[in-house]
């Protein structure tokens, strides 16, 4: 027996002055299942709620309809109220007779029938309400952080500091990311390694952080609170437990090749430490360049000199399987390859370099010990041209978006150049200078006024060699004249782009990415660190071009989201999720691809048909992943998929009640 109680709220005079509530009460009382109708001045007030509670008990109500303000205002309030007297909170419906009636239809004659209709509709829905219970899932309170740049390091430190375990997976032999490659950083010109190294060391020493370098996540399954990851530890050929980092191996190794960390500007050995401050401070043996692996199986110099016996040529890749409650993805960015700019020499002129290469040239720990020597002949360049927006804001050859950091780092480069080579002159070709950050405009001003960088508004059209220098041709668009600069070195501020394997990473971990390969946040303004997949968060430049301050802020936010999750013992999920009626499900899978959250999987069920057993596949909704959008229920042709709280039967009943 459904026993519906209806409560009409005056909202002071907000409703009562525009709607004839007596008439509404009169008509409502005539509806089937309605056993009690009552009016009150302010239902949301404590005495108002008490009125409802009392009536539920007195009249043995098992459904409640509140005719008042928008459910967006007080749905929670009233659910809690009915819940407190033992009624399932989802056996309550709200008729919005304020925002969508009294406030927009001030004339009692015309508004009252609308209110009657709305209440009737709510009653019809309430009659079809069923008790809904939230489900609870346990939470594995360990976090996985993928990518060990400044973003990943910061997130790992923040999570660990809150008392939770973190596994930090970094693909390279050391953590540090791009920031480790930088010399000084805008807008304050702190030395990058001076501020980064302490954090790297801390991450390496914190007992709650487990660093897995030279490792990659192979796959991720499960859902929020309960992820399972397979992590591949690539064979490093060095036993990290035994190695003391003494350096004898790489000092003695006879084979050199261009070093990745220095972007090929310097050399490294076949067994090497990427850079002196690397964490862990232990080498990796690169099998692709090692003589033992590539040539004759001889050499073995490193093994001979290694006193602790840490070299292990036989080491194999290893797969770890670990469980996590949440994931932070911080895989960073790459730089656009200017080989596609034929007009700038297509990467063929040795003295046309990228900005990151310039960072390595100015860096004291770089291949030139911080002397800016140009690659072709080692000469100190006097006239240096910097070109901004190379590949950025270029829909023809590059990417359409602005890379956000290059205006600022170019100003920085102009300053560093002048500091290192006081007799030098820099020329910066730009289209706009985007210095929108705290103290950024001031920094740009210093570059021009204090350091005399010559800014020229215009995109360079062509660079060609003349003798041993380079001719740079542009237009000074402010003058309206073509200009030429004969330069010793040209530095291209190449676009920030996503890592080439970003789409695969997103697919493996199960969240979405945009057409440029940047990972998509759940909402651009209000959920900038969440992904569409609950429990997976984003930090740093993998989500879009970002400088260090923004990266660190976002990493902190991602960590806070993880910690917020771990602060609970169980995860309560909204009960208004999709549910499959297995008996009706035809296993057609129409619903599966429609779900934006990959909440639908297929499962096998066996049924008895006559005397035999029949196996078939049916859909299954994972309530922890489902957000309750209802798209699947519409896709389902057999009516097997339903959405709790907004079920087919309920909406159907509402339509019927409305159209009476």
């Amino acid at each position: 027996m459904k026993r519906v109680g209806v409560f009409l709220c005056w909202c002071g005079s907000n409703i009562s002055s525009a709607v004839d509530l007596d008439q509404v009460a009169e008509q409502t009382a005539l509806l089937p299942h309605v056993v009690h109708v009552e009016q009150y001045k302010y239902l949301c007030s404590d005495p108002g709620q008490e009125t409802v509670r009392k009536a539920i008990k007195e009249h043995a109500l098992n459904r409640v309809v509140i005719a008042a303000c928008s459910p967006r205002m007080h749905e929670r309030t009233f659910r809690r109220a009915v819940g407190s007297v033992g009624l399932n909170p989802h056996l309550m419906e709200i008729a919005n007779i304020r925002e969508q009636c009294s406030w927009v239809h001030p004339d009692k004659v015309t508004s009252t029938p609308v209110a009657v209709d709305l209440v009737r509709t709510a009653v019809a829905k309430a009659v079809k309400d069923i008790p809904l219970e939230p489900s609870y899932v346990g939470i594995e309170k360990r976090a996985l952080v993928v990518g060990g740049g400044i973003a990943g390091i910061q997130a790992a430190l923040d999570i660990a500091d809150s008392g939770y375990e973190v596994v930090l997976v970094e693909r390279e032999p050391t953590i540090g990311g791009r920031m480790a490659q930088l010399d000084k950083t805008f807008p304050t010109l702190d030395c990058s390694s001076c501020i980064l190294t302490p954090k790297m060391v801390e991450a390496g020493q914190d007992p709650r952080i487990r660093l897995l370098t030279y490792a990659e996540v192979e796959s991720l399954s499960g859902y929020i609170g309960n992820f399972e990851a397979r992590i591949r530890m690539k064979a490093r050929s060095v036993d990290l437990d035994r190695c003391t980092g003494c350096g004898d191996c790489w000092n003695k190794c006879p084979y050199r090749s261009p070093g990745e960390f220095d972007l090929g500007l310097g050399k490294r050995k076949a067994i090497y430490l990427p850079f002196p401050q690397a964490v862990p401070n232990k080498p990796v043996l690169d099998r692709a360049t090692c003589a033992y692996f590539q040539k004759d199986g001889k050499c073995q110099v490193c093994k001979k000199v290694c006193a602790p016996g840490a070299i292990d040529f036989e080491q194999q890749d290893e797969i770890l399987e670990e469980r996590f409650g949440a994931v932070v993805v911080a895989t960073g960015f790459d730089l656009w390859d200017h080989g596609r700019y034929g007009e700038y020499g297509a990467g063929q002129h040795p003295d046309v370099i990228s900005s990151l290469e310039f960072e390595r040239l100015v860096s004291a720990s770089g291949p030139t010990d911080g002397k800016i020597k140009r690659p072709s002949d080692g000469k100190l360049p006097e006239r240096v041209v910097f070109i901004q927006c190379v590949g950025s804001r270029d829909e023809a050859k590059g990417v359409p978006y602005c890379s956000k950091v290059c205006c600022m780092y170019t100003a920085k480069h102009a300053i560093l150049l002048k500091e290192k080579i006081p007799s030098s002159q820099s020329y910066v070709f730009y289209i706009d200078v985007r210095a929108a950050g705290k103290n950024y405009e001031e920094f740009y001003r210093r570059a021009t006024v204090e350091y005399g960088a010559q800014y020229i508004r215009g995109r360079v059209s062509r660079i060609y060699p003349r003798g041993d220098s380079l001719v740079v041709v542009g237009e000074d668009t402010l003058l309206g004249q073509k200009v030429e600069v004969e330069a010793d070195l040209v530095v291209l501020a190449t676009a920030v782009v996503s890592r080439s394997d970003a789409p695969q990473v997103a697919q493996k971990l199960g969240f979405s990415y945009d057409q440029h390969g940047f990972f998509t946040e759940a909402h651009p303004k209000l959920a900038p660190v969440e992904t569409n997949t609950a429990g997976i968060f984003l930090a740093g430049a993998c989500q879009g071009p970002k400088d260090i301050p923004d990266t660190v802020a976002q990493a902190g936010a991602a960590a806070a989201k993880v910690v917020r999750l771990f602060a609970k013992d169980q995860l309560e999920t909204e009960p208004t999720v999709a549910r499959v009626d297995r008996a009706r499900c035809a296993g057609c899978e129409w619903c599966r691809p429609i779900c934006p959250y990959k909440a639908i999987e297929m499962e096998a069920v066996t049924e008895r048909v006559g005397s035999g057993q029949v196996a078939r596949r049916v859909a299954k909704v994972n309530p922890s992943l489902c957000h309750g959008c209802g798209a699947c229920s519409v896709a389902c042709r057999s009516g097997a998929m339903n959405l709790l709280g907004f079920s087919n039967e309920q909406v159907w009943a509402e339509v019927e009640a409305l159209c009476l």
């Binding site: 829909e395 023809a396 995109r459 360079v460 059209s461 062509r462 542009g474 237009e475 004249q481 073509k482």
Partner: protein, 187 residues
């Protein structure tokens, strides 16, 4: 320098943009004034407006200045600008479009000689279906009264048998006349 009245220019803006979009099959509004086109233009040194500025004039609706410029006539049609434009504006097409509009307006070209050359060239094509260089240059000289320009060069070519006196037109003259007529009808 004169003050540009933008509200005045705006009156003809839509019309100009529409015509340029039609004829050049490109949208000048995509241009963000980076100057890469001008910087690569081989003839920018001789132009009164830079190619970038021509696009700007079109963006603002400044028809007079655009159609009256020397730029649209000095453009050699090399498409270096279009090849390098980051916003995929077909600048060379815009130059063509503006020359056509100038012609349609019956306006005296800023570069008389260049326009006279094109007229003589097309006349020669219309007459014989193919260009007869000597005839064409002769007509050009009459048009521009530059009878003695390049005299030595012409003689040199004649001497090297590279400037035949006789034309070698199409057998059926109507073939090409028909095409000119068809174009006139469509235009």
């Amino acid at each position: 320098m004169a003050v540009v009245d933008l509200t005045e220019a705006a009156k003809g803006r839509e019309e100009l943009l529409t015509r340029v979009r039609e004829l050049a099959e490109t949208d000048p509004l995509a241009c963000y004034q980076c100057g890469k086109c001008s910087a690569g233009c081989p003839l920018s040194f001789a132009m009164d407006y830079q190619p970038r500025q021509i696009i700007r004039l079109v963006q603002l609706g400044m028809r007079e200045q655009a159609l009256g410029s020397s730029t649209i006539w000095l453009c050699a049609g090399c498409a270096t600008c279009t090849t390098r434009c980051p916003r995929q504006v077909k600048i060379d097409g815009v130059m063509d479009a503006l020359r056509q509009l100038a012609g349609q307006d019956g306006r005296a070209p800023r570069e008389r000689e260049v326009a006279a050359f094109h007229t003589s060239f097309l006349e020669s094509v219309r007459r014989g279906g193919r260009v007869h260089e000597l005839g064409m240059v002769g007509s050009y000289k009459l048009r521009t009264r530059r009878i003695f320009q390049d005299g030595g060069l012409g003689w040199n070519l004649l001497r090297h048998r590279r400037l035949p006196l006789k034309a070698s037109p199409l057998r059926d003259r109507k073939t090409v006349e028909r095409i000119f007529r068809a174009a006139e009808v469509r235009g």
